[in-house]
């Protein structure tokens, strides 16, 4: 297939960027979006031009490194699919595809399509962990966890921290990410111990990183490649107010 790409090119963090037009011929419908970009980059390098810089790692939808706003949607048109798992057969021959970096003040562009998402790491450092000494491996079923809680904690543990929620939100809010991490830990016995300080510290770090607030538009939940639910945001709101009232 033939694809017309409009790709964001930006030579450095403080440089002005622009959309560059590229014609890509002989694209295999079976190649992934990133493989298509690999081929484009080979061509660029052969012609002595700078390849397009983009983030990727596992290429199997589990690490959260890949990003890209594709035709206006983070991770492109397929639901619950990361960019690395998106295939060119999701597009039509002759399509124009606009590729931009995730945009947020808290995610500054490093180069081209690559952004710095370490704001998420700092939010995790502020409380997204369990610091109790759990001792050795406990006996099986020694610490019962209700099935519903275990399932919900697991669903939220599926968040890969890619930042698509921030990228799509009209406010560039990190509420879905932060609330998924909070629910994941809060629902398990090991995580309950620090639940109160965790919600205070993580939401405070979220504000300090310059993310926006939540307007409950629902875009985050819709684009999340792991299907993280917005109800976590409601739980986070209630937990924060409770913690504030108790402190």
């Amino acid at each position: 297939m033939k694809i017309h790409l409009k790709v964001w090119r930006q030579s450095g963090p403080n440089q002005k960027g622009r959309l560059e037009d590229l014609e890509v011929k002989d694209v295999s419908p079976d190649s992934s979006f990133l493989e298509m970009l690999d081929v484009v980059n080979e061509g660029l390098e052969e012609r002595g031009k700078e390849p397009i810089v983009f983030d990727h790692d596992c290429r199997e939808g589990i690490c959260g490194a890949c990003s890209l706003n594709i035709n206006g949607v983070p991770h492109g048109p397929d639901r619950q699919t990361t960019t690395c798992q998106l295939h060119m057969r999701s597009f039509k021959d002759g399509d124009t595809i606009v590729v931009e970096p995730f945009r947020a003040r808290a995610f500054p562009v490093i180069k081209d399509l690559m952004v710095d998402r370490s704001a998420f790491d700092r939010i995790i450092q502020a409380g997204g962990y369990v610091s109790v000494s759990t001792g050795g491996v406990p006996d099986a079923n020694g610490l019962p966890v209700a099935k519903d809680d275990a399932d919900e904690a697991f669903e939220n543990a599926a968040c890969i921290g890619c930042g698509a929620c921030v990228a799509t939100c009209k406010n560039a809010s990190a509420s879905l990410f932060v609330s998924a991490k909070l629910s994941h830990l809060r629902l398990l016995p090991q995580g309950k111990v620090e639940a109160k300080t965790r919600v205070l510290n993580m939401t405070q770090q979220m504000e300090e990183e310059g993310f926006g607030a939540c307007t409950n538009t629902g875009d985050c939940e819709a684009v999340c490649p792991k299907g993280i639910a917005m109800k976590n945001i409601s739980s986070m709101n209630v937990d924060l107010i409770k913690s504030l009232l108790q402190s």
């Binding site: 964001w8 206006g72 949607v73 945009r103 003040r105 924060l240």
Partner: protein
């Protein structure tokens, strides 16, 4: 926990927006029901007209009248200050906009809350100057004959038009606002959220439909 620390939390501000918003929704339900007395028509004299009796009743109960006014004024001001602060934070959070942005789940109502809200702010000021203070359209202000003021005002299509447009803005603000407030305040289960959406649509339709029926009633001659 100081007020400054609390104010830095967008979640605390969202709670204030939601609570003040719902207080205003509660007021509007009562206000709308009161206004529907226009449909009971004119009595044998201005004093014996239902809506004028209602106005006189409110005047005779200053605790009720001023209590409501103070709570409302406080809510409106706090709602405006917090939403403007949040909107500024949200704008700052994305300094460079996308060349192409598609919305997957959000609707127009949820994306334009600040515009609808600011429209309402101008409308509220005009509305108070018109019906409460009688500063604009002085020639139409016939207090304590409220019935006559409303009637002669809405007989002017331009004035009716302004009120109808304002109600449409209110409808869009509430259709997202009511369900959003529920979510902000912790209604989280997907099943209740579905229910919440319906409550939002029903309440917004009731409030705005009720208010719009009055200028429409006057224009069509149903109220005369």
């Amino acid at each position: 926990m100081s007020v400054c620390t609390l104010w830095r939390s967008s979640i605390v501000k969202k709670w204030l927006v939601a609570i003040t918003g719902l207080v205003m929704v509660g007021f509007l339900l009562g206000h709308m029901a009161g206004n529907l007395q226009m449909f009971l028509g004119r009595g044998p004299s201005p004093e014996a007209t239902k809506i004028n009796e209602y106005a006189a009743f409110l005047k005779a109960n200053p605790a009720l009248l001023w209590g409501t006014r103070i709570v409302l004024l406080f809510s409106v001001l706090l709602h405006i200050v917090t939403t403007i602060s949040l909107t500024r934070q949200n704008r700052k959070a994305r300094p460079e906009s996308y060349a192409l942005r598609a919305s997957v789940a959000s609707n127009l109502a949820s994306r334009t809350m600040i515009f609808g809200g600011l429209t309402l702010l101008f409308y509220i000021i005009y509305h108070l100057l018109h019906f409460t203070l009688g500063c604009v359209h002085q020639e139409l202000f016939t207090y304590p004959d409220v019935y006559q003021t409303v009637l002669s005002s809405f007989q002017i299509p331009l004035i009716s038009g302004v009120y109808i447009v304002a109600q449409i803005a209110l409808y869009f603000h509430l259709v997202h606002g009511i369900s959003s407030a529920g979510e902000t305040l912790g209604v989280s289960h997907p099943r209740y959220r579905e229910c919440l959406n319906r409550i939002g649509i029903a309440t917004a339709t009731l409030i705005c439909g009720g208010f719009i029926s009055i200028p429409v009633g006057v224009l069509t001659g149903l109220i005369s």
